[in-house]
């Protein structure tokens, strides 16, 4: 069975008809999705202030209406090749267990509604992305969507270790 958080909509005991809403975004040729309930907002690129000796995938901090929040570059996080920021680059601001932070992605595409049942556990070797970050994979009509486990993508303990 799938590895899920308790009470999550992915819980297999929940009705199969239950719907899941995802925000999907692109990094390189892959399409990713995160639970819409975790997404606070989506912003265009702003000036990022670098923080010395932060983990390599932390770009720095930004001013979000008077709050200082850290920004993670998902390309760096997934050890993918770097790409210049362009007009499509977005910062997806997420709330992970009460901590607000931003993720830099190549582009945000859409909000998807999927029946929970269409998400399958990740195959062993899927993409360039380390499979421990992956909660599941959804098969859409012509493409695959990788459902990310945010608390693994940005793990506080992990950061402390790196530090």
């Amino acid at each position: 069975m799938m590895k899920t958080e308790s009470g999550s909509k992915l819980d297999p005991s929940a009705a199969a008809s239950e719907e899941l809403q995802l925000v999907s975004f692109n990094i390189g040729s892959e399409e990713f999705g995160v639970d819409i309930l975790k997404v606070q907002e989506i912003n265009r690129m702003v000036e990022i202030t670098r923080v010395p000796r932060a983990p390599h995938y932390v770009e720095g901090v930004i001013n979000l209406r008077g709050k200082v929040i850290p920004i993670v570059d998902l390309r760096k996080r997934f050890n993918l090749q770097m790409k210049e920021y362009d007009k499509n680059t977005r910062i997806v601001v997420v709330d992970i267990n009460g901590s607000i932070m931003g993720m830099i992605v190549d582009a945000v595409s859409e909000v998807l509604r999927l029946p929970a049942g269409t998400i399958e556990p990740p195959p062993d070797i899927v993409t360039g992305v380390n499979s421990e970050y992956i909660k599941g994979v959804a098969k859409l009509e012509s493409r695959l969507l990788i459902f990310l486990d945010l608390s693994k993508v940005i793990d506080v303990n992990d950061l402390v270790k790196v530090n």
Binding site: T49, S99, M101, N163
Partner: protein
């Protein structure tokens, strides 16, 4: 030791909480005043004040059912009453007994605080008080309730708490604990102070911080408005409004900060007792002179400054001041003096502890430093005395052994340094053999909002806390020398190590490529100084520290971030971290 079980638990907690706060203040004032009484045994105002404090404690404790507290204060009160009436004289032995009872009283109150009330054997101290009371009394004198028999010998206002059941007499505001008796000064205090939960003050301070940032942004935006676009009149009005918001914010900020301020006398007030006890134990004669007790500091600073001061004063008594015979042989008065002074200098508080003891022996410290491998013999022997004295703050060198064998001082000096560092303060030590030692501590007035110096290094802008900046210099290559390939700046008669700001922060070693005429910011932390090589000075701004959040909060060398008037985030440098990074690199 029973409390009224019928009272609601929460109510009881609140009442006991109030009792503890009030009693703490009273115990504090008793401590100070009893010691004062020794040197001024005929001061009736003082005696009355002491009596009132004891009486209030007795009243409230009996209402709350803390029997042992009541019994003890009752006996103390008996003795005090006789002193007050002139039936007994103030003698050192009598004062010892009173002070001892006070210590016991503190223990009892501490037990109430912790909630573990145990029965303490009071018979010994009660008997001693009894003896003291009988000491000068005519036989047959009965001691009735003192409150009823108060013969008022002076015109000083006596506020005897008739109704001890009131849980908030509030008749002792904080300043009375520290300042000398001021007849009449207490008259109207009752309605003029209010106790506020510290959390509320903190949240007010946070809001204040946000307001300061918004003000900065407003002022900056208004400054860039194009008159032709908006229309001259509008621009003018906008300018005026912004100017007044600016002014009011500054005033408001001062007012909010003042609400968190407490007089340093609160800390000072425990020292007379400390010095008295130490001098009695060591058979020395020491005068403690306190000045500037009314100087105010932020509450958070007050809480941290007590311990270091205790260490310093204890050192002065133990190792600084000599025995009377030694002093006289050296041509000094038999009685030693320790001066403790506080005053405000700009946005800093300066605390000075000065003794006329024997001073530090720089040569002995040199030897110890060489022994401990803090430098080569040649290096250390070349160093000026002032730099040598800094070694006593090194952990390990400040051991009791060094102190007794060598010269003077050092116990707990690393505690002093750690606490002062935590407060972003600076310490300077000056000593002359035979003439005494002066320690100067400089602390920022408040920790929440700080004046920042904006500097640019390697295309990034950083903020240094201005209170730690000693000076900024544009120097010449020729003023920079190298010791073991590490650059140092010769500034007047001082040698200050230089670091490259950006690379040091990034942990990339200290490859200093100095410009033709490098800019250097000299910063101080505790006893040390460091020169920071930067590219440009950008200005000064009032900033509020915001945390980088749990993800980045632990980044060494960065205290947090702030948002400037233009909306940009800039990092505020944590000097402790920066000094550590620099030390590791060197």
């Amino acid at each position: 030791m029973t409390t009224d079980a019928n009272l609601e638990l929460d109510d009881m907690k609140e009442i006991i909480g109030d009792f503890l706060i009030e009693t703490d203040e009273l115990l504090h004032s008793l401590d100070t005043n009893l010691v004062k009484l020794e040197s001024a045994p005929d001061d009736l105002n003082l005696l009355n004040e002491i009596f009132r404090a004891a009486h209030t404690i007795k009243g409230t404790s009996s209402f709350l059912g803390f029997e042992q507290v009541t019994t003890l204060t009752h006996k103390m009160e008996d003795v005090l009453n006789k002193l007050r009436k002139g039936e007994l004289k103030v003698t050192p032995v009598r004062m010892d007994v009173l002070l001892e009872s006070l210590d016991l009283l503190k223990q009892l109150v501490e037990m109430v605080r912790s909630g573990h009330i145990e029965s303490v054997d009071l018979s010994g101290i009660l008997a001693m008080l009894e003896v003291q009371m009988e000491g000068g009394a005519a036989p047959g004198t009965t001691i009735a309730s003192p409150a009823a028999t108060v013969a008022q010998p002076t015109t000083a206002p006596i506020r005897v708490m008739e109704s001890a059941a009131k849980d908030q007499p509030a008749s002792f505001d904080k300043t009375t604990a520290a300042s000398p008796v001021r007849p009449g000064a207490e008259k109207k205090v009752v309605d003029q102070t209010i106790r506020v939960d510290v959390n509320r003050l903190d949240s007010l301070m946070n809001l204040m911080g946000e307001l300061v940032l918004s003000r900065n942004s407003l002022v900056q935006t208004v400054g860039t408005i194009n008159k032709d676009e908006v229309g001259g009149l509008h621009a003018e009005k906008l300018n005026q409004a912004a100017a007044s918001v600016n002014y009011i914010t500054t005033e408001l900020q001062m007012a909010v900060m003042r609400m968190r301020m407490q007089p340093i006398g609160k800390v000072f007030s425990k020292f007379p007792r400390l010095v008295r006890d130490l001098s009695r134990d060591s058979k020395k004669q020491i005068d403690l002179i306190l000045t500037g007790e009314e100087t105010e500091l932020d509450k958070s600073v007050i809480e941290e400054i007590g311990d270091p001061l205790v260490h310093i004063i204890r050192n002065s008594c133990d190792h600084g001041i000599e025995l009377p015979k030694v002093r006289e042989a050296g041509g000094k008065p038999a009685k030693g003096t320790i001066k403790l002074d506080a005053c405000q200098e700009g946005s800093n508080i300066v605390i000075r502890i000065q003794d006329d003891g024997k001073g530090l022996d720089p040569d002995a410290i040199r030897e110890k430093a060489i022994e401990r491998g803090l430098g080569t013999r040649a290096e250390i022997e070349k160093m000026a005395d002032r730099d040598i004295f800094r070694f006593i703050f090194e952990a390990g060198l400040s051991t009791a052994k060094v102190v007794t064998d060598v010269s003077g001082r050092g116990v707990g000096m690393d505690v002093v340094r750690t606490n002062i560092e935590k407060l972003n303060g600076q310490i300077e030590l000056d000593s002359k053999r035979g003439a005494g030692t002066t320690i100067t501590i400089k602390l920022p007035l408040t920790l929440a909002i700080l004046q920042g110096l904006l500097v640019e290094a390697d295309h990034e802008v950083y903020i240094l806390p201005l209170s730690s900046v000693i000076e900024t210099v544009r120097t010449e290559q020729s003023d920079v020398s190298y010791i073991n390939q590490r650059p140092v700046l010769r500034l007047r008669d001082e040698i200050i190590p230089i670091i490259n700001f950006a690379s040091c922060l990034r942990g990339q070693g200290n490859a200093v490529a100095l410009a033709e005429k490098p800019y250097v910011v000299v910063v101080g932390l505790a006893e040390q100084k460091l020169g920071i090589n930067i590219d440009r000075f950008l200005g000064q701004e009032e900033v509020v520290i915001k945390s980088l959040g749990s993800y980045l909060g632990t980044t060494e060398g960065v205290a947090g971030a702030t948002i400037l008037g233009d909306g940009r985030i800039r990092l505020i440098i944590d000097l402790i971290g920066l000094f550590n990074l620099a030390r590791r690199k060197r």
